[in-house]
Amino acid sequence: MSDRTTTGLPDSLVSNPRVSTWLTVTEHRGIELRVGKVELGQGIVTALTQLAAHELDVPPDAIRPTATNTAASPDEGLTAGSLSVMTSGSAVRRVCAEARELFRRAAAHRAGLDVDDVALVSGLFVRADGSRIGSYADLAAAVDLDVEVGDPTLRVELTPSSSKDLHRLDLPDKVMGRPRFIHDLEFAGMLHGRVVRPPRPGAHLVDIPDVTTLPGVHTVVREGDFLAVVAAREGQAVRAAEALVAGATWTGGLQLPDADDIGSWLRSVDAETTALRADGARHDGARTTLRASYSRPFVAHGSIGPGCAIAVLDEGRLNVWSHSQAVFLVGRGIASALGLAPDAVVVQHVEGAGSYGHNSSDDVAMDAALLATHLPGRHVRVLWSRADELGWEPFGPAMTGEVTATLGADGLVSDLSYEVWGNGHVARPGYAPQHSLLADAHRGGVDTMPPATDPPPERGAGTGRNAEPYYDIARVDVVAHRVLAMPLRTSSLRSLGANLNAFALESAMDELAAAAGRDPLEFRLAHLSDPRARDVLTTAADAAGWGGPLPEDRGRGLAFSRYKNRNSYCAVVADVEAADAVRVTRLTIAVDVGRVVNLDGVRNQIEGGALQATSWALLERVAFDRQRVLSTDWDSYPILRFSQVPHVEVHVLDRPDQPSLGAGEATMGPVPAAIANAVADALGVRVRTLPLTSDAIVAAIEAEIEAD
C-alpha cells in the first residue's frame, strides 16, 4: 500500500482498486468497460461510456460497456439514481485516466521516447511530428492493467470536461422492438413460476387445493406461508396460481391503520427519534406565525413492467438474472436466506422497466432463486402480477411533518422547528439479520418484515432528508422520528423523505411570506445567501414570468430545494388551473447539477422526475382498509395520463468548474410544493395533505371554515 496513494480516490476505487476490474483492453476485442452501476433507464451506461471515451480520447463507440455481474464487475453497492454519475463517474474517469497514462508509457517505451514526448490524438499515440506509434489495441499486449490505481510514478490528470450529448446506447433496441429487457430473456426449456401471496399482510397459510393435475404444472412449492407454482407455459402458471388463490385457506392477518388518519397513527406508535439540529428555536411570543402539519400517504413505485427474474441451480451454483438496483446485495441476501456460500450465488444484471427506488425487483429475484432450488438444472422465470406489484412492493412511506415558525421584528423567519414522522426508507436485502426478502419472510411465517431503517445523516438521512430548511434562519430545531411499527412494508422511493419535507417546508415558506405580507420569491431570496440557490430561483421565476397577471381560477406557485441540502439545486414555478380538479398547465424548472456530463440526459431526467412528482402530488395514494391494500390495479391506483401532463420547461445552469451532482431526484420535493403553492394562489385555500385531489381541497376548505 505504501507505494500508492489512495487519498482523494473516489470511494468506488478504494474498494475496487484494480484497473483490470474496470477495464479490459485487447488487440481484437478493443476496450471493454465494466461498472458496478446498472442501467435503470436513467442513461447511466451512456453517461459512463461517454466519460470513459473522453478520458481515453477515443470515440464512444470504441468502448463496449458490459452489464453488471456480481462475479466479474466492481462492487459499487447499489445504484441510487442521483448518486450514480457522481460515484461511478469519478471512478471511471480516474481509472481511464490512469489506464491512458499506462498506455502512454508503453507507447513511449516502444518508440524509445520520453512519456512527455508522446501525444494522444483520437485514440492514437503519436510522436511530436504526428507519426503513429500505436492505438490502444496495438499496445494492449504491452500493458498490464492488473495493477492498482494510484501509481505515484504516473502523472495522471483528468481531461477537462465537455458536455456533448451522446445518444442513449440502450434506446435503439427498445425503439426497434428488439429483446432487451429481462422480461424478454429466454432459455431453452425455461419454466414459468407464479407466486401466490397471502390475501392480507400477516395472514398464515392453512391449506391448499391440489393443482398438480392442472395442465402444464411441474410443481407446487409450499414453505411456511410461501406458496408458488411452476408450469411449462406462462398462462398455465397463471391459471394454476388462480386455482391456488381460489382454493387456499389462510388465517389471521394484521390490523392496518386508518388510511384516512395516517398522521395520528404515525405519531402514536413507537419510533426511534433523532435530533438533526438543535439551535434552541423559540416560539413563545406573539410573533409565532405558523403551526401546521403536512402529510403524504403511502406511495407506490408502480413500475410499468412488473418484477421479473430468472434463476437456475447449476451444479451447486445459483445463477440469477435480475433487474435489481442492488445486484450485489441481492446476491448476498439470497445466499444467506438459502444457506448458501456468498459466492455460490451469481447475479447478472439485465435491464428492467424503471423502478424509481426499491420496488419488487429484489424480491422477485429471491422468488425465482427459491423456485430454482426445487428444480435443479431448470431455468425458472418468475413474473409478478400487476396486483402483487401494486399490493406487495415496498411502498414509499407515509409521512407527516409539523412546522412551527416565528417571524422576527424584521419580518423574516427567526425561529423554525420541524418535526417529522414516518417509516424507514431502507429495506434492501440484508438491512436486517433475517427475513429481509419477501419470500424469505413468508417462508419464515413472520407477521411483518423487520422495520425499515434510514441512511445516517451523513449520507443524507431518510425520514430526515431535507428536513432542515436551506434558508438562513437564526435558530432551527429539527427532529425526525423513524416509526418502528410497519404493517405495510416500506423502502426507498425516489428522493426518500425529501418529497414530504420539501412539500412541508416550502408550503410553510409561502404561508409565512403571506403572513409577512411579502412576495414568495422576494421572501425566499431574503433568506438565501447561497448564490447558486438564488440563481436557480431567479432563473425559474424570470422564465415563468413571475409576478405577471393571471386569469381567474389560475394560480402560480414557487418552490426551491437543494436535494439533501448539498446536492443539486432546483427551483420550480407551477402554473395551475383549479376549477373542478387541479390541472397543472406548466412547470418551469431551473436546475444546477454542477458540471453537466450529458445535457440531454439531465433534461430527460428532470422532465421525467417533474412529471412523476406531478403524478404523486395530484393523484397518488395507496388505498387500504383495515385488512388489505385495495389499490391493486391502474384504476384504483391512477397515475398521470397524457391528457394531464403539463408543459415542462427545463433550464439547466451549467457549472463546468463544479462537481457533477445527480439530477434524478432534484425535482421530487419542489414540484409538489410549487403545485400546492399554486393551488393556494388560485383558490385561496391551503391544502396540506397530498395528493391534492378535489376531496383534499374540499376538506381543507371545510377545515378553514371551522377554524374561523
Binding site: 425503439v175 429487457f181 410499468i304 413492467g305 400487476r386 440531454d600 422532465e607
Partner: protein, 159 residues
C-alpha cells in the same frame, strides 16, 4: 397431463407472415406473440387492458393483446417490431431516436403502435390529437412530452 394435451393449433398472421402455433386456446395473444412467435416487442404490463404496454394492431386497430385469448384472434397482427427495420426504421422510430424519446423504454413499443395507427389515419395531427391517441398508454418515467414531440416530428417529416 402435459402441456400439449390441452393445446389447439392456430395460424397467427404476424407482421405479414403466418406462424403456426400449438397452444391452449385460452392463451392470450400477448403470450403467443412473446413466447411462441418469439416477438418480444409487445410487453406485459398489467394483463388487464389498462396500461397499453402490450398494444398491437389487430386488422389495423390498436388493441391490447394481454387480455385477448388467441382463439378469438382471426385478423392480421402487427407489432412494434414489424413497424420498421434497422435499415429502414419507421419514421416514428427514427423520430423517437432522434429526440431520445424514452427513459426506461418499457412503454415505448406500445406507444409506437398507437402512434403509427394515428399517423396512418391522420398524417398531420394536432398536439391534442396526438395526446388523445396516446391517452390509453401509461408511462411511469414521465416521458410523455417527448413522445408527443416525437410523434409530431415524425408527422412533420412525412410519416
Amino acid at each position: 397431463m402435459t402441456a400439449s394435451e390441452a393445446s389447439s393449433r392456430f395460424d397467427v398472421r404476424v407482421n405479414g407472415r403466418a406462424v403456426p402455433v400449438s397452444v391452449p386456446s385460452e392463451t392470450s395473444l400477448l403470450e403467443v406473440l412473446r413466447n411462441d412467435v418469439g416477438d418480444k416487442s409487445p410487453k406485459f404490463g398489467c394483463g388487464l387492458g389498462q396500461c397499453g404496454a402490450c398494444m398491437v394492431w389487430l386488422d389495423g386497430h390498436p388493441t391490447p393483446s394481454c387480455d385477448l385469448p388467441i382463439e378469438y384472434v382471426t385478423g392480421e397482427v402487427r407489432t412494434a417490431s414489424g413497424l420498421g427495420t434497422p435499415d429502414g426504421p419507421h419514421p416514428l422510430q427514427a423520430a423517437f431516436l432522434e429526440l431520445q424519446a424514452g427513459q426506461c423504454g418499457y412503454c415505448v413499443s406500445g406507444v409506437l403502435v398507437s402512434a403509427a395507427a394515428l399517423l396512418r389515419d391522420n398524417p398531420c395531427p394536432t398536439r391534442d390529437e396526438v395526446t388523445a391517441a396516446l391517452e390509453r398508454h401509461l408511462c411511469r418515467c414521465g416521458t410523455h412530452q417527448r413522445f408527443v414531440d416525437a410523434v409530431l416530428a415524425a408527422a412533420g417529416a412525412g410519416a
